[in-house]
Point group: C2
Chain length 132, copies 2
DNA sequence: TCCAATACTTACAAAAATGTAGGTACTTGC
DNA sequence: GCAAGTACCTACATTTTTGTAAGTATTGGA
């Protein structure tokens, strides 16, 4: 997300992308929208992301005022992340993405099933042809 | 967007990102939501993107069934892009992004103004101090 | 014959994002 | 003394994305 973007003339959609355009950012925001989480929890909730990526993306979100980081002076350390009030204004976007994605997954899954079914039917035909 | 993603177990938000996660995709979809456009028009409407990027992202959107590409057999060639019915289901996401971005821009702009005002006040103070 | 116009494509180069492997700090409990 | 536990950080390597510059096809018109 290193973009030369003009706040006066730039496109609205592009502006949003400067904040949530990172690969893991929408996912992390989504996780935090349902409540405060510790670093380790976030890692477990985003298993495809590495710890390093999660750290980096959280830092950027923090810098943009979307989330808040709280360090508890304990040993072993405990760090909690939560969305700020401002960050919560992203909720409609994240929710829309979640809802669309759910539907998309169902579609994709159905497609795969259909493809497999077609495949095995094809195998049947081949077998019959070989036998005939 | 080259991700090993599991359609059964994967996160909903992440699923959406496999489709609209490209840097220019949300912008292109946004442009097309307001109506059919020619390639050249899209280039003019997304001036920060190169022609190559626009081509590539359009191809991916087409492959995902979000947009439709129509080639008219003319010389010089004319190619039109439009969102499919399915693509239109992304509208809530794009609109939410647009709305949030608009607000964010206003905020950012105000911040910059404030920073500049503070700066020139600082200069005044310095001048006074130097004079006193 | 050469140019203009459009929507690309291709090879190559640069930049950005992401991943890997290791290390750090601190204190409690064995 | 040593391992465990947490939330990182750092250097480095690799992958992915994006950009640059040039070339392609077609045909009507100067």
């Amino acid at each position: 997300m290193a973009r030369q973007y003009n706040w006066k003339t730039g496109c609205d959609v592009e502006a949003t992308l400067t904040v949530i355009g990172g690969r893991w950012k929408p996912i992390l925001i989504c996780r935090l929208l349902s409540g405060k989480k510790r670093f380790g929890e976030l890692c477990r909730l985003a298993p495809n992301a590495t710890e390093r990526m999660i750290t980096l993306q959280l830092r950027e979100l923090e810098a943009d005022g979307v989330i808040k980081r709280t360090v508890h002076a304990e040993v072993p350390p405990r760090v909690e992340y939560e969305v700020t009030e401002y960050g919560r204004s992203l909720q409609p976007i994240i929710m829309a993405m979640q809802s669309w994605g759910k539907d998309f997954k169902t579609r994709k899954y159905a497609e795969e099933e259909a493809a497999e079914a077609a495949d095995s039917e094809h195998e049947d035909t081949n077998r019959k042809a070989a036998n005939g």
